[in-house]
């Protein structure tokens, strides 16, 4: 029983770490603000959810599990609200989404934003 819980915990923690890393990479690499919101949302929902689920398998049935689930529910509520508010504020400020035509132009002209490190992976 201990072994099963540990294995499930391992799998969830590693999957959560993977999604956190992918989201962080997307936050750095993606071209404009609205796509970066999407990358940040992945880490807040799937990454945090899997990491906290992995910790729950370690805790068993106790008050710690209740606290973990409280943190998880709160993170899920607030991250969605924050992303929504950020996009609304950006739209109200007049930040335009990067369209396909703009993107082609930018690729041809060398790119205004990636002047320092074009191969930062």
């Amino acid at each position: 029983m201990e072994l099963i819980a540990d294995s499930l915990s391992w799998i969830c923690l590693m999957a959560g770490s993977f999604f956190c890393l992918v989201g962080g990479l997307g936050l750095v690499r993606l071209p404009d603000f609205y796509t970066r919101v999407h990358a940040g949302g992945v880490t807040d929902t799937l990454g945090a959810g899997l990491v906290i689920l992995g910790l729950t398998f370690q805790a068993g049935f106790s008050l710690i599990t209740v606290k973990l689930l409280l943190i998880l529910g709160f993170l899920w509520l607030t991250s969605a609200t924050t992303a929504h508010a950020a996009v609304k504020a950006a739209m109200a400020r007049g930040l335009k989404p990067l369209l396909h035509a703009d993107r082609d132009d930018r690729d041809k002209s060398g790119g205004p934003e990636e002047e320092s490190e074009p191969s930062s992976s």
Binding site: G16, V28, F33, K67, T78, K88, R93
Partner: protein, 100 residues
């Protein structure tokens, strides 16, 4: 197991900080800082399990609350140019879905 997870979360925090420093717009900075705060919550929770002291979860809960309030406050500030100002009519129409 917890150490590997902590390394991954730390790397994600570094990437979020990179975006917060490099961000060309103020909203990119807010996005990076918000993600940094969320990962701080996860990091504190995993530290609690690594050191065998799950009381750290209370700290994580408080961090989650502070992070949410702070980001909403900064967003209102950037949208309206002040924390106490009331939105105008045309902005108020778009404000209905945002309870903050």
């Amino acid at each position: 197991m917890f150490a590997a997870c902590m390394v991954a979360i730390l790397m994600t925090m570094a990437l979020a900080l990179t975006r917060a420093i490099r961000g060309p717009d103020v909203f990119d900075v807010i996005l990076g800082v918000n993600m940094f705060g969320t990962k701080t919550v996860l990091f504190i929770a995993v530290i609690g399990f690594l050191t065998g002291r799950p009381e750290f979860l209370d700290l994580a809960l408080v961090y989650a609350l502070i992070n949410f309030i702070g980001v909403i406050a900064v967003l209102r500030f950037t949208k309206y140019g002040g924390l106490g100002s009331t939105p105008t009519e045309e902005e108020d129409a778009g404000e209905k879905g945002l309870a903050g």
